[in-house]
Symmetry: C2
Subunit: 123 residues, 2 copies
C-alpha cells in the first residue's frame, strides 16, 4: 500500500505519515523509485499512534514505548516508563472529570436560572 491509501484508511494526512517516519514511529519499505510502501498492519499501527497522541503522549515517548506495546516485551526501565505514562494519563483523566463535572454543575444551575428567572426577554 502506498502513502495516500494508508492516509485515507487510517484517517490521517499524508504529511502526518511522513512526520511519523521522521520521528521513528513508522518505518516504510521503499520501491526502487523511492516511494514508500506499507504492509496492511500499518493501518492499525497508525491508529495506535493516534490513540497515544490523543492521550497526550509525545512523539518521543511513543517512539520509546511502541516496540513493547507492539510485541509485549519490555525491560524494567521500559516498564517504569510505561507506568509513568499510564499514571500521567490517569491523573489527567481525573483533572478532566473534575472539569466536566464543574461544567455539568454550571449547566444545571444556568438552566435552572433560565427557567425560574427571566423568560426569553426581560419585561
Amino acid at each position: 500500500m502506498r502513502i495516500g491509501e494508508l492516509a485515507t484508511r487510517a484517517g490521517v494526512s499524508v504529511r502526518a505519515l511522513r512526520y511519523y517516519e521522521e520521528q521513528n514511529l513508522l518505518a516504510a519499505e521503499r520501491s526502487p523509485s523511492g516511494q514508500r510502501h506499507y504492509p496492511d498492519g500499518a493501518v492499525d499501527r497508525v491508529r495506535l499512534i493516534q490513540q497515544l497522541y490523543a492521550a497526550g503522549v509525545t512523539s518521543r515517548s511513543i517512539a520509546d514505548l511502541l516496540p513493547c506495546v507492539v510485541d509485549g516485551q519490555a525491560t524494567p526501565e521500559l516498564l517504569d516508563r510505561l507506568s509513568a505514562e499510564r499514571d500521567r494519563i490517569d491523573r489527567q483523566i481525573g483533572d478532566m472529570v473534575s472539569a466536566r463535572d464543574r461544567l455539568d454543575t454550571v449547566i444545571a444551575a444556568a438552566t435552572a436560572n433560565w427557567r425560574t428567572g427571566q423568560r426569553c426577554r426581560p419585561e
Copy 2:
C-alpha cells in the same frame, strides 16, 4: 495582593497571570504607579482557569464561558457552547480511558512475559 503573591498562592507564573489579563480572563485594579492589585478571590479564579486549561479548553472559550461559570447566568447560545465544550471533554475522557486501558494491558502482558520468559540476561 500584588502579582507575585497571587502567582505563588495560585501556583502559576507571573507571566501566566499577565497573559490571562491579555486574554481577558482576569482583570486587575491598578495602583497609581501602574502595578496590578488583585482581590483574594483571584486565587480561586486562577485555579479555575487552570482547571479549564487542563481540560483542553482554549483561552477564547474560557473567556466566553467564564462569566456564566462564575455567576451562573447564561443565554441559550452560551448554554450551547457550554454543552459543546462539555461533550468535547467527555469524548476526550473516553479516548484517554481507552489509551490508559491499552497501556494497562501492555504492562500486564510485559510483566507476565518478564516473569515467565527470560530472567535478567538471556543464557
